[in-house]
């Protein structure tokens, strides 16, 4: 296991280096010259852009290190990142790492709550679908999960606001100041990812229930609860874990959209604000932070998977 963990950790680190290259290259996507683009964002709106001289641009180019060849620029940037410096926001002039760290708890809180929502929906509906396969209960859960899969998160969010905040007045429409404020964003984000998990669990559980060891457990006189939860659900959940990469991606990516809908003060909204203000370093820092988080989650899930499935634990032992 330690050997496997080490190998996976090295692979994850290699992928992380790859993501830094992609994120570095992202900045080259800005149309035109980055220095000019940055300068344009710094002038106050309405000011005469003709005031920007070639000298200004050259000075900024030197300051941003844009005059050096690409690999030199990349290595210098990588060095900064490794020492924890993600750059400075063009608008607030604050270190981006700090600004992200300030907002990360709100996003993690939302993602965590959404995960709970997802589990509360996906596990019961997956079990229901498998136990009643081919019957009305199965068709209903299947249809609901299709709707969940097809519903744009922002539409669901807006609908919930209209219903529960505007019409019924039960919940605050936006913000994090009221503890009840998390209910709707978590519901929206959680419902979006529940469908996939529910469907995977249904298929996996159906497969497990048809296994001979379930018949054997029944022949041993195991009662219903033990049969379902201990003998069938445990092995059935293992393959479902492989979908957690999809779930994590959905939660992290969805956060940017859902936080915008509910004005949730997390890093997703920070990113969208940065886009509106053409704050390029923030966009870059955010993307890198999200990728690192995603890689870390996938690494953790990978290890968990190995831990939960005893069959793989042995097969992966180093040979020779």
């Amino acid at each position: 296991m330690a050997y496997y963990a080490l190998r996976r950790a090295l692979a994850a680190i290699a992928v992380l280096f790859g993501t830094t290259v992609v994120v570095f290259l992202l900045l080259r996507l800005i149309p035109g010259d980055p220095a000019t683009a940055v300068l344009l964002t710094m002038v106050t709106p309405g000011a005469d852009t003709a005031q920007i001289t070639r000298g200004d641009i050259e000075a900024l180019r030197a300051q941003l290190g844009l005059a050096d060849p690409f690999p030199v620029q990349y290595l210098r940037w990588l060095g900064e990142i490794l020492s924890g410096n993600l750059g400075t926001s063009l608008r607030s002039r604050q270190p981006i790492a700090e600004e992200l760290a300030d907002r990360l708890p709100a996003t993690l809180e939302l993602a965590g709550a959404a995960l709970v929502v997802m589990l509360l929906i996906a596990i019961p509906s997956g079990i229901l679908g498998a136990l009643y396969s081919g019957r009305p209960a199965d068709h209903v859960t299947r249809m609901l999960s299709l709707v969940g899969d097809s519903m744009p998160g922002f539409f669901l969010g807006v609908l919930l606001i209209y219903l529960f905040a505007i019409q019924l007045g039960w919940l605050p429409a936006i913000g994090r100041s009221d503890p009840a404020g998390i209910v709707m964003p978590a519901l929206t984000l959680g419902l979006g990812v529940a469908a996939t998990t529910s469907r995977l669990l249904r298929a996996s559980l159906l497969d497990t229930l048809a296994q001979p060891y379930i018949l054997m457990a029944e022949a041993k006189g195991m009662p219903r609860g033990v049969l379902l939860f201990r003998h069938a659900l445990r092995p059935a959940l293992i393959p479902v874990l492989t979908s957690s990469s999809l779930v994590a991606g959905g939660l992290l990516g969805g956060a940017a959209v859902i936080e915008t809908v509910f004005a949730w003060p997390g890093i997703g909204r920070y990113m969208i604000e940065a886009i509106a203000g053409r704050d390029y370093p923030v966009i870059q820092g955010f993307t890198l932070a999200m990728a690192s988080l995603f890689v870390a989650i996938n690494f953790g899930v990978d290890l968990l998977y190995r831990l939960l499935d005893p069959r793989i634990r042995v097969e992966e032992a180093p040979r020779g």
Binding site: V21, M222, R224, R230, T287, M290
Partner: protein
């Protein structure tokens, strides 16, 4: 393949009201979007402040927005943008993904290594996050949107196509083409790309829905077409501000996205089902109703009383008695509907004796085992007769009545030890739970009994912490036997217990079963197709053929002078039968 898929697809849709409704709704919407200029004469971008925020009505079917623009016109014109962006993106993604996947899979080596690494890195970003970043840095608009969506979507395709290509590359006809000196590009095009075209199209179709969602999410965030040009996601975003007075501004674009994506996903689901075929599974009606809901004091008392009666009788009455039992298949959909599995079978197993049940496959042997455990399931149904367990008629028993007996009074050792144990539970746990469920004994006594049964079946104590896959087939069968005898049952059903084992292990497991039968005074129903094995263990034998008992009697008498022609045929089929008849004391 396409034709078959289509046939399955239409067959599934026939009678599927929701599906037909959904598809026709989506087709109608898409049709109206395509014909937008002819459907509506309204200008989607022209503002008119004399008719701001009008509710839906005859003049404006979907009302107007806060600039006085007709929502229907905006919806239909906006759909052209949303849908065409997604369709263009899916085509780019397929082309790029397929080309790169094909090349990487076919060439292998360094090219493949680089491609897979690039794919790994791109998949290390949450899809939507990378798309947002790319679109944002490129400044928003149609082209950046298409590029952003394509960059995040192609790696998944390339990975799948690469896998397919690796598989096909080593198939006979491709190898043959290579040996004939066909140029690489020709092989790629003719042999691989054409084979893959079906799966690729299905894949693209399945993905179209998620791409439409991604496009609308980006344009919702303001990264799509610049206003005032309409687009569904952007319309929804604009509509949010006046949602409390004019909910139709949000509902119209939201429902449009939902309907199109839902229809695509539904279509995809049906296609996938058609391609994979509907899985058939045994009914699990017994699991559906939790025991707690069925808790019934009267039944519980009856169960306790019955158990007491049975304990008193267990030395005297037959453990299992079948009285002219018939079983047949009852399932109108099954091709075997009406087939008789057991035909008026009568037999009895007395305490401590071993009854051998012989028959070829399909003779109803295993149905007998399921009958003895109360595990007979639809489509099998009783056609008459009585099954008595320890003198109690089981006709009215339900799943819970049987559950109290299984593993305690009667237990099972079945054919395939490799799949009989739960792969994720340690061996010790699987033996312990039989004791824990059926009798409330202290933990210490339970541990002691666990070691005792393991010693009984000649397994070392270290297996307690091991998992099934760490043991050999013979060892696993010993674990199954240990589970079966842990509660000292009166009756053991051994359904082909040695068939899956190799010859030397077979002999050892057989000896073990006989030894345990002696030690615990087990009644043993030994089911096998192997005459020699049955001759060795059984006191009496029953020969079954096509559900009928053709011969029954003492083992020695039966094999010494078989009465039924079928038994003689069976015996003649055994190689070296003379030795059986003379050895082993008969």
């Amino acid at each position: 393949m396409a034709e078959r898929t289509w046939r399955r697809f239409t067959a599934r849709l026939r009678g599927d009201l929701i599906g037909i409704l959904l598809l026709s709704l989506a087709l109608l919407l898409v049709g109206m979007v395509l014909a937008a200029p002819w459907v509506t004469v309204e200008n989607p971008v022209e503002t008119n402040f004399s008719r701001v925020l009008l509710p839906p009505g005859p003049a404006h079917w979907l009302g107007t927005d806060d600039f006085g623009r007709d929502v229907l016109a905006r919806l239909l014109h906006g759909g052209r943008a949303s849908l065409s962006i997604a369709v263009i993106a899916v085509m780019i993604v397929m082309a790029v993904g397929v080309t790169i996947g094909l090349i990487a899979g076919f060439l292998g080596g360094v090219v493949d290594l680089i491609v897979t690494k690039v794919i790994d890195v791109l998949l290390a970003f949450p899809r939507l996050v990378l798309a947002i970043a790319v679109a944002a840095l490129m400044g928003g608009g149609i082209l950046p949107l298409i590029i952003a969506i394509s960059i995040v979507a192609w790696p998944a395709y390339a990975r799948i196509i690469r896998g397919f290509t690796l598989q096909i590359r080593n198939e006979g006809y491709v190898l043959a083409a290579r040996c004939l000196g066909t140029p690489t590009w020709k092989i790629l095009l003719h042999h691989i790309a054409l084979t893959l075209i079906g799966p690729i199209l299905v894949l693209g179709l399945l993905d179209l829905g998620s791409l439409i969602l991604a496009v609308s999410a980006l344009s919702f965030l303001g990264l799509g077409i610049a206003p005032p040009a309409p687009e569904w996601g952007a319309m929804l975003n604009e509509g949010r501000t006046s949602m409390d007075e004019a909910p139709w501004l949000v509902l119209a674009p939201g429902c449009a996205i939902l309907i199109v994506v839902l229809a695509l996903n539904y279509f995809g689901d049906v296609l996938r089902d058609g391609a994979e075929g509907r899985p058939t599974h045994g009914p699990r009606h017994w699991l559906r109703c939790p025991a707690i809901l069925r808790w019934d004091r009267g039944r519980q008392a009856e169960r306790t009383a019955r158990w007491d009666r049975m304990e008193q009788r267990v030395r005297a009455a037959p453990l299992l008695e079948l009285d002219t039992v018939s079983v047949r298949v009852a399932d109108a959909r099954s091709p075997y509907d009406g087939r008789v599995i057991l035909d008026q079978v009568s037999l009895a197993i007395r305490p401590g004796e071993c009854l051998g049940l012989i028959g070829e496959s399909g003779s109803g042997k295993s149905t007998m085992a399921m009958l003895a455990l109360g595990l007979m399931r639809p489509p099998l149904t009783f056609g008459g007769g009585r099954v008595l367990v320890c003198g109690e008629d089981t006709a009215a028993w339900d799943w819970d009545d049987w559950q109290a007996l299984r593993g305690r009074f009667v237990s099972l050792v079945n054919q395939d030890p490799l799949s009989a144990l739960n792969p994720v539970l340690p061996i010790g746990e699987q033996i312990r739970e039989v004791m824990r469920i059926h009798r409330a004994i202290p933990a210490a006594a339970q541990e002691e009994r666990l070691r005792e049964v393991l010693a009984d079946v000649d397994l070392p104590a270290r297996v307690i912490a091991q998992y099934p896959h760490e043991l050999s087939g013979g060892m696993r069968q010993r674990v199954v036997i240990a589970m079966a005898v842990a509660n000292r049952p009166a009756l053991l059903i051994a359904d082909e217990p040695t068939t899956a084992l190799d010859v030397t292990t077979q002999a050892r497991v057989l000896d073990l079963l006989l030894r345990l039968q002696q030690r615990y005074g087990l009644g043993l129903l030994f089911i096998s197709h192997d005459l020699r094995v049955v001759a060795r263990v059984a006191d009496r034998v029953v020969v079954l053929r096509e559900g009928k008992v053709v011969e029954a009697g003492e083992t020695r008498a039966t094999f010494g002078a078989p009465q039924a022609a079928y038994t003689r045929v069976l015996m003649a089929a055994v190689p070296g039968r003379r030795r059986i008849a003379t050895a082993g004391g008969f």
